[in-house]
Symmetry: none
Subunit: 208 residues, 4 copies
């Protein structure tokens, strides 16, 4: 998501910004993440890889965190969708495997926790992460819940506040479990694990 996306005052005078530069910078950022990881990625190196001056880079992004969030967000844009697998169990397994596939990429593995860590001291960054990444994931969970309700696998919740609370809980459980398994326990999220996790979650949703 380019930071200049919905600029309210679309500048008219002077040389326009090169859209190729935007693409080249984000590509270079992802490449640098793969090769170097978050810790050794530097703005100067990204600029050099993109064949762009540092000025050009700083004109678009305020710093490393913002740049990396946008670079990673593009991956989530591309890869997150949730085809209807026909059952809640299958849908949950699917979303878990999709989350995990993204988290196990070297670009995201090294970057996500780092920007989240930065965001504990930076509210603007937290908002950017939320709108660029987290909300996109969450919408998949909501979609899955709606489908399950339509199929009759889950009851409808009338109180919208309670419904939101439950959705938040489910999302934290799904996303949290996948992240923890992948990055902290450093174990693979394979179909077997996904099956066990989905069974646990759905059992809990039905039983409660």
């Amino acid at each position: 998501m380019s930071s200049a996306a919905s600029s309210p005052a679309p500048r008219r005078t002077g040389r326009p910004r090169s859209p190729e530069a935007d693409r080249a910078i984000l590509d270079a950022t992802r490449a640098a993440l793969v090769e170097l990881g978050w810790g050794k990625l530097t703005m100067g190196d990204v600029a050099a890889r993109a064949g762009v001056a540092k000025t050009t880079l700083y004109r678009r992004w305020a710093g490393k965190s913002e740049l990396v969030v946008d670079a990673v967000a593009a991956l989530f844009d591309e890869h997150l969708e949730l085809p209807d697998r026909g059952s809640l169990q299958a849908d949950v397994e699917d979303v878990v495997l999709r989350f995990a596939a993204l988290l196990e990429r070297p670009e995201t593995k090294t970057a996500l926790m780092a920007v989240v860590a930065e965001s504990t001291r930076d509210g603007a960054l937290r908002d950017r992460i939320r709108s660029a990444i987290v909300d996109r994931q969450k919408s998949l969970v909501l979609l899955g819940r709606d489908r399950a309700q339509r199929r009759g696998e889950l009851p409808r919740e009338d109180d919208p506040a309670a419904a939101a609370r439950t959705a938040d809980l489910i999302f934290d459980v799904i996303a949290g479990a996948v992240v923890h398994r992948t990055l902290v326990s450093a174990e693979p999220v394979d179909p077997e694990w996904a099956r066990g996790f989905a069974a646990l979650l759905i059992g809990g949703l039905r039983g409660s």
Copy 2:
């Protein structure tokens, strides 16, 4: 956890390392984490706060990550215990609130994700985190499971491999959900949320 823990050959020649320095450094590290956060914490600043030369610090820890892991681990040592609350539901709520209380401290909030992010590129660091922090948390989860089995709230699993798999799953779910709620969603883990989460989890364990 001192980096030189249980060295098999406790050197006896030369001036011994000052244990006061160890303590002062870890205290200073926690103080710096609170004031500055992970990103702005510097080795030089920690050394200055501890009234210690930088070399003294580097003689014991290879870098910021290792130092911070040990500094944070001390908190987990102190605060992680699990009194018997009489029921599985109460025990789960308790462990969730205890994890959350630790994660909501400013020292840990800013530090944990950062070192986990670093550890994605550094196996030794990952091992250190696991043995200093993660395993300590996990033992609480195992303790709770054993109690529940003794109470008859949970069935005993005969196959040890399956038992271990289930324990890992439960641990990733609990720890992951708390971490995600606290650091990504940035919402408080209050008794109400803990109740809802525990109900979901226990329902899943019974139903599956």
Copy 3:
């Protein structure tokens, strides 16, 4: 002599180096030499005095020795000239007193021997000293000899190789005696000493 002197390809792209920084650094170096002497002069201190970042300093000079040679050379540039005093004896006395006046300055006294000592292990540094300092002094000696030959006080030497050998010898004798008197014996080079030395030298030149 600026380190970038007469660069054959004067780069034209990018921000040009600040000539004010050059001046400020050399001034600061001389001031630091006076206050601290060679031994306690540090690159960081010079940079701070000059109001310049350390990197700016290292971009221009490879180290303390190179910097100090250039800083001292500027003094030799300014102060070395040799007006015609009318006789060989007067010219020799004059050049001796001029050398001595430079060597007795606190900047040069502490610096010259130190860089010469360094140069025993560093050919590039030796060349830099030679071209920036020694050759400038030598030209004065050559000038005095030519004048004396024109006046008829000294015979002309036809063999150019022999002439060069003699000039080298005379230069080593003059410069060496002044340096040794000033820095090793630590005695002042006053007009009386200069008179005695000039008489000895000229007697030797005539007699041989």
Copy 4:
């Protein structure tokens, strides 16, 4: 010359200092000078080469300069003598070549100018250099003068003050010229150069 040479209160109690350590340290110092030069010689390295603790080294010498002066002085002790060559010209040539041979050794070449440079800011060091090195050289010059006077090659000077002034001048000229030729001009002092220099000097002494 050990720094503890003529201690007025020769301590009687306690373990005496190891004389082997003294020797090993001075040998190690000279070896380090040859290999590393003054600039890269470190106290720790000398101690390690000598197989001695740093404490042992600092118990005997206050610092690098003092240590190196003593280490180099030992060479001057060993090698400076002046056999009677039968004529003033031959004696001067001989002393010049002897000085030069010492100065061209790698130990002294790198060390002498450096300690002289240090001594410009340190009177105690200057005195140590003078008594350990310079006076030893000077005595050779005085010896040569006395012989020449006994042979009738030079007139006797009745005024002792004037005699001292002349001796000082000659010494600065001889030592200075050799040092300058060797270390600044970086040209060899060979027999031919010595002959030319001696002729110049003696001519001056006779003519004046």
